[in-house]
C-alpha cells in the first residue's frame, strides 16, 4: 500500500476557529415494538470550522445515526445540535431547508443521485432550490463537474456512470451552493480502493483550498491519513477523540492489519 501513498498529512488547523458543529447530550432512541434501542447514548462534541473529521467505529456503533443528527436529517430524542451555534431544533421548515441547501453538502455511501436527471441536472438541482438563475447554475455546474474530473460526462445519466464517477457527481452536487460543511457517510464504502482514495484525495483538496469543514463517517482507514481529528464511536458514545498527531503509531499498526484482511 505504501507505494500508492499519495495522500499526505495536512497542516494542523488553527485551533482558534469558531465551532461550526456542536452537540450536547445527543441521544437517539429507536422504538422497536416492545423494546427501545438506544443508538446514541449522549454525544458531546465540537467541530471547528475548517477541520477534517473522521468518525470511525464498528458497524452498528451509531455513525450513520450521528451523521443524520449533525446533518439535520433526523431529530434527536434528547439533547441539542448546534450548527454555527444555532440550535437546529429551533429552526422552522424554511430555515431547515435553507440549512440543508446552502450550509451543508451531503455525500452518501449509495451516491443517491436522482436517476432521471443527468449529471449536470443533479448538480444544478440544489442551485435551483437556492434560487440561482439557470445560466449561472449551468456554468457553475459544468465547472464543478470539471473540477471533479467529469467534464466530459455532464449529460450522462447516473446509470451510465461507474460507481466512482457517480460519487464524483455527488461530490460536485454537495459543493453546488458553496457549503460550509460537507457531511459524508461512508463515501468510499461502495468503491474499490483506488477510486476510494481518489475521492478521499478530492475531499482533502476541497478542505484545504476552500476551507470546507469535512465530517465523514467511515470504516476506511485510508481516511485516517488526511483527517485532522478522529472521533472513535463505540456503542452509541464517543469513546476517543484523537488528534492526528497522536495517531501516527496506531496508524502503522492499523494499516498493517488492513493489508492482512481480505476484502
Amino acid at each position: 500500500m505504501s507505494e500508492e501513498q499519495t495522500v499526505t498529512a495536512p497542516e494542523p488547523k488553527a485551533p482558534d476557529q469558531p465551532n461550526i458543529v456542536r452537540t450536547r447530550g445527543v441521544k437517539k432512541i429507536y422504538r422497536m415494538g416492545t423494546f427501545d434501542l438506544e443508538a446514541l447514548k449522549g454525544v458531546d462534541m465540537e467541530i471547528k470550522r475548517g477541520e477534517y473529521i473522521s468518525i470511525m467505529g464498528p458497524s452498528g456503533s451509531g455513525k450513520s445515526t450521528l451523521f443524520n443528527m449533525i446533518g439535520a436529517l433526523d431529530k434527536p430524542s434528547e439533547g441539542k445540535v448546534y450548527i454555527d451555534e444555532v440550535d437546529v431544533a429551533q429552526l422552522d421548515a424554511y430555515e431547515l431547508a435553507w440549512l440543508r441547501c446552502r450550509k451543508i453538502g451531503y455525500i452518501f455511501q449509495t451516491f443517491n443521485l436522482i436517476p432521471v436527471m443527468t449529471a449536470l441536472e443533479n448538480v444544478t438541482l440544489p442551485m435551483i432550490f437556492a434560487g440561482i438563475p439557470t445560466d449561472e447554475s449551468i456554468d457553475k455546474g459544468v465547472g464543478l463537474l470539471e473540477r471533479v474530473g467529469l467534464g466530459g460526462r455532464v449529460q450522462h445519466k447516473p446509470l451510465e456512470l461507474s460507481g466512482g464517477q457517480q460519487q464524483r457527481v455527488a461530490v460536485a452536487r454537495a459543493l453546488a451552493n458553496d457549503p460550509a460543511i460537507v457531511l459524508a457517510d461512508e463515501p468510499t464504502g461502495n468503491l474499490d480502493r483506488k477510486t476510494g482514495r481518489e475521492i478521499i484525495e478530492l475531499l482533502r483538496e476541497l478542505n484545504e483550498e476552500n476551507e470546507v469543514t469535512i465530517i465523514s463517517a467511515t470504516h476506511d482507514l485510508k481516511m485516517l491519513d488526511v483527517s485532522d481529528r478522529i472521533l472513535w464511536v463505540q456503542d452509541g458514545k464517543i469513546e476517543r477523540d484523537q488528534k492526528r498527531e497522536e495517531l501516527d503509531l496506531d496508524v502503522g499498526q492499523l494499516e498493517h492489519d488492513e493489508e492482512n484482511t481480505i476484502e
Binding site: R49, V116, N177
Partner: protein, 219 residues
C-alpha cells in the same frame, strides 16, 4: 470553481422552486415511467369517457326532443328515452368516478413508495415539503388532464355516432354544441379534481417523512 466560503452565522429562509423547473421535473418523471403513466391515464380516460357519454347522450336526446322532426320525436318517446339523466345513470357515473379516484390514488402511492429515496435526497438538497407535494400533484394533474381530455372527446364522439346510427343526420343538425361543451368542461374538471385529490394523500405522506427515514426505506 468558486473559492468563496459560506459566511458564518446567519440562517436564512429563501428557498425556491420555479414552476417551469417543477413542471420539467414532473414531466420527466412521467416520461421515465411511461407505461405506468399510460395505465393511470387509461383509468382516468375510461372513467371520464363513461361520464361524458352519459352527459352527451342526455344532451343530444334533449335537443332532439325539442327541435327534431316529428318522426324522431315519436321514436324517442316510444323508447322512453328521458332527457334527464336517471337515478340509475347517476349511480353508474358516481361509481365509475370512484373507481377512477381509487385507481389514481393507488398509482400515486406506488409511484411515491418507489421513490422514497429520491424524495429524501431532494429534501437533503433543500427541497421544502411543499415542493415534493407540488411535484407529485403536477404529475398527477398532467395525467388527469391528458386522460380526461381524451375521455371527453371519445365519450362525445361515440355518443354522437351512436345517435346518428339511430336517427340519421338529425343529431348533427340539432347538435347542442353549447351544453355539450359545458358538460365537457365539467367532465374535464372532474377528471382533474379526482387526479389531484387522489395524489394528495400519498404526496403529503411522502413529503412529511424526515429525510433520514425516507432514505432508509428500501422498496
Amino acid at each position: 470553481m468558486s473559492t468563496q466560503v459560506a459566511t458564518v452565522g446567519t440562517i436564512e429562509k429563501q428557498i425556491s422552486l420555479p414552476l417551469t423547473e417543477a413542471i420539467k421535473i414532473a414531466f420527466r418523471s412521467l416520461k421515465i415511467r411511461f407505461w405506468r403513466s399510460l395505465i393511470t391515464i387509461g383509468g382516468i380516460f375510461f372513467g371520464i369517457a363513461f361520464l361524458m357519454s352519459i352527459l352527451t347522450s342526455t344532451a343530444i336526446n334533449g335537443a332532439l326532443l325539442e327541435g327534431g322532426s316529428a318522426q324522431v320525436r315519436a321514436l324517442l318517446e316510444q323508447k322512453g328515452t328521458d332527457a334527464e339523466a336517471g337515478v340509475q345513470q347517476i349511480w353508474l357515473v358516481t361509481l365509475s368516478l370512484l373507481v377512477c379516484a381509487v385507481g389514481i390514488t393507488n398509482a400515486m402511492l406506488m409511484s411515491v413508495t418507489e421513490r422514497y429515496r429520491e424524495i429524501g435526497t431532494m429534501k437533503c438538497l433543500g427541497a421544502l415539503d411543499k415542493f415534493i407535494v407540488e411535484l407529485f400533484l403536477l404529475e398527477s394533474a398532467f395525467q388527469g388532464l391528458v386522460g380526461s381530455l381524451g375521455g371527453v372527446i371519445l365519450g362525445c364522439l361515440f355518443m354522437l355516432l351512436s345517435s346518428m346510427s339511430s336517427y340519421g343526420t338529425e343529431p348533427i343538425s340539432v347538435f347542442p354544441l353549447y351544453s355539450v361543451l359545458e358538460y365537457g368542461a365539467y367532465s374535464l374538471g372532474a377528471g382533474l379534481f379526482l387526479s389531484v385529490i387522489g395524489a394528495m394523500y400519498p404526496a403529503y405522506r411522502a413529503a412529511k417523512m424526515p429525510p433520514a427515514d425516507a432514505m432508509r426505506t428500501e422498496v
